[in-house]
Amino acid sequence: MASIDIANIQKSYGVHPVLHDVDLKIRDGEFVVLVGPSGCGKSTLLRMIAGLESVTGGEIRIAGKRVNELAPKDRDIAMVFQSYALYPHMSVARNMSYSLRLRKTPKERIATVVTGAAAKLGLEPLLERRPKALSGGQRQRVAMGRAIVRQPKAFLFDEPLSNLDARLREQMRAEIKKLHKDLGATSIYVTHDQIEAMTLADRIVAMNAGVVQQVGSPLDLYDRPANLFVAGFIGSPGMNFFEGTSRAGDRPLFEIAGDIGIPLDAPPPLANNAQATLGIRPEHIVLAGHGPETLLATVDLVEPTGFGIILHLSLGRAGFKVFTNDRSFLTASGTVPVHFPAHSLHFFDSEGNRV
């Protein structure tokens, strides 16, 4: 196990920069998730740590040792690929033991380690099978088994669950979390799925367009997103945004298109008449009247999810979503009263940064 330090890492393909000055310190035994939309550079960063991509600028240290120029085989890390990348011409056992055989580990030791890993992952009955005779979930387990037999300094996961169906993904997600609890190994996990990021991570690194947007615990990112990108990316259904102007006074308002004023229980952290974006999560909007200035929103659409209901509402021209568990809204039509509690509001300035 080891810490991983990433200092001012840059990457360009020719003249096209894909990563700008990424700084990240990953502690020993920590589970860090890199999350962001496709093309944000998260996979490139992971592959640079693995040694599969060259480093344009900056420094990567594993356990304090600079690895920029080291070949992947000398970095002592294990990686799980999205495509599983199992060797098709080798049995499951040989797939798992390949790294040990390359290191000339004694046969008895290989047998013990492979059996142990197989037991941990429930692969014992499959050890003699070829990868093509396995289901997607089993292949995924073999790929993880191949990683854990080595007891490497760190585990790298490159969207390992993206090729699985939803149920299996949920199951494997829990297994990965359990595995990390058992092994306590430093892990870096790349995904575009914010649910995976939220459920697995000790810390999330949200990335966009080659720039780190925010680093923090899952709840940090959920409760205090640093900017509009993180606010919109974390959470499902996504946060609602209203562009408008703050109006101070006895009763502070946030005025959105169509001269609609959203009453604010407390003065916002904004200058009077400042242009800003107000954000609120669908699960934080209260569907109830509140005083004389109750806002009435038009019901556009009702989406039952079983667990709850997503209401698509609009205030003037601004559409937004509300999540509720109250089944009486299944038949909602016309207008409903809405209230935006002050402690659930997020404000972002015209640059998109949190105020």
Binding site: L52, A71, A85, S99, L102
Partner: protein, 277 residues
């Protein structure tokens, strides 16, 4: 509707049968002439099967002609060419498939260019080059020439097979502790066996049936390959059709055996290459 689909199936099968008959007829004729005794060759020239068959031509070819020498020479030349070309093409095909390097575009263009000449144009210059090196009238010279001509196409063929193998596999191997070369040898090469078989087969047959260079670079029977040897059955005043055909039938045997050995990989190989190339 059903009658129509039955009719279409029958028509389809008949068309395939007709094609097979058309394609295989020359081979049948080869065999037919080979077993026809000389006295019947002209009197029963257009019968589908002679009234009396004999193996006398085979006997003559094997025991009294230089055919075994030609056969051995062809085997040496084709086998060596196939092995040399396949090794070179595997390495260069892998490089083209996996590495980015300066001048790659021009290298590929140049290799394509070599495939655009009629070979006849090159006979004289190649003779001029090989002659002072003592490589005319030698099997080694032939292997070199055949290899040079076959490497570009074989490289493209192998490249398409390597392109079909996901890069993740060797990256996984490299993270598991392999160097790029070990990953190539232990992971990629075994998966490319169909491609290697297809390349071996293609080059082997190309060299086996090559006549032009063999004819121009080899003089005398000692170093002659089989296609040149066949010409020795043509004398000034007559052509020994029976013996020539018997030799032809014998020459088919190694090619058939070879393809029988690799056909399992070949079918897989050619389709994989076709789709992914």
């Amino acid at each position: 509707m059903r009658a129509k689909s039955v009719f279409l199936t029958v028509a389809h099968r008949l068309a395939i049968l007709a094609y097979i008959a058309f394609a295989l007829f020359p081979l049948f004729w080869l065999l037919k002439v080979a077993v026809t005794p000389n006295d019947l060759l002209y009197s029963e020239g257009i019968r589908l099967w002679p009234s009396r068959a004999s193996l006398e031509h085979f006997d003559f070819v094997l025991r009294h002609s230089a055919f075994p020498v030609f056969f051995r020479n062809s085997l040496i030349v084709s086998g060596s060419t196939a092995v040399v070309v396949t090794i070179l093409a595997s390495l260069s095909g892998y490089a083209l498939s996996r590495f980015r390097f300066r001048g790659k575009y021009w290298l590929v263009t140049l290799m394509l260019l070599t495939q655009m000449f009629p070979l006849v144009m090159l006979v004289a210059p190649i003779f001029k080059i090989l002659s002072p090196l003592g490589l005319t009238n030698s099997l080694t010279g032939l292997v070199i020439v055949y290899s040079a001509f076959n490497v570009p196409f074989a490289t493209f063929l192998m490249q398409s097979f390597f392109d079909g193998i996901p890069k993740d596999l060797e990256e996984a191997a490299m993270i598991d502790g392999a160097t790029q070369f070990v990953a190539f040898r232990q992971i990629i090469l075994p998966l490319t066996l169909p491609g290697i078989a297809a390349t071996l087969g293609f080059v082997f047959t190309a060299a086996w049936s090559e006549l032009l260079f063999s004819l121009m670079l080899i003089s005398g029977n000692d170093q002659a390959t089989f296609p040149v040897g066949l010409l020795s059955f043509v004398s000034k005043f007559s052509v020994d059709f029976g013996q020539m055909m018997a030799a032809g039938v014998l020459a088919l045997i190694p090619a058939c055996l070879f393809f029988l050995l690799i056909q399992r990989y070949l079918v897989q190989g050619l389709t994989a290459g076709a789709v992914k190339g």
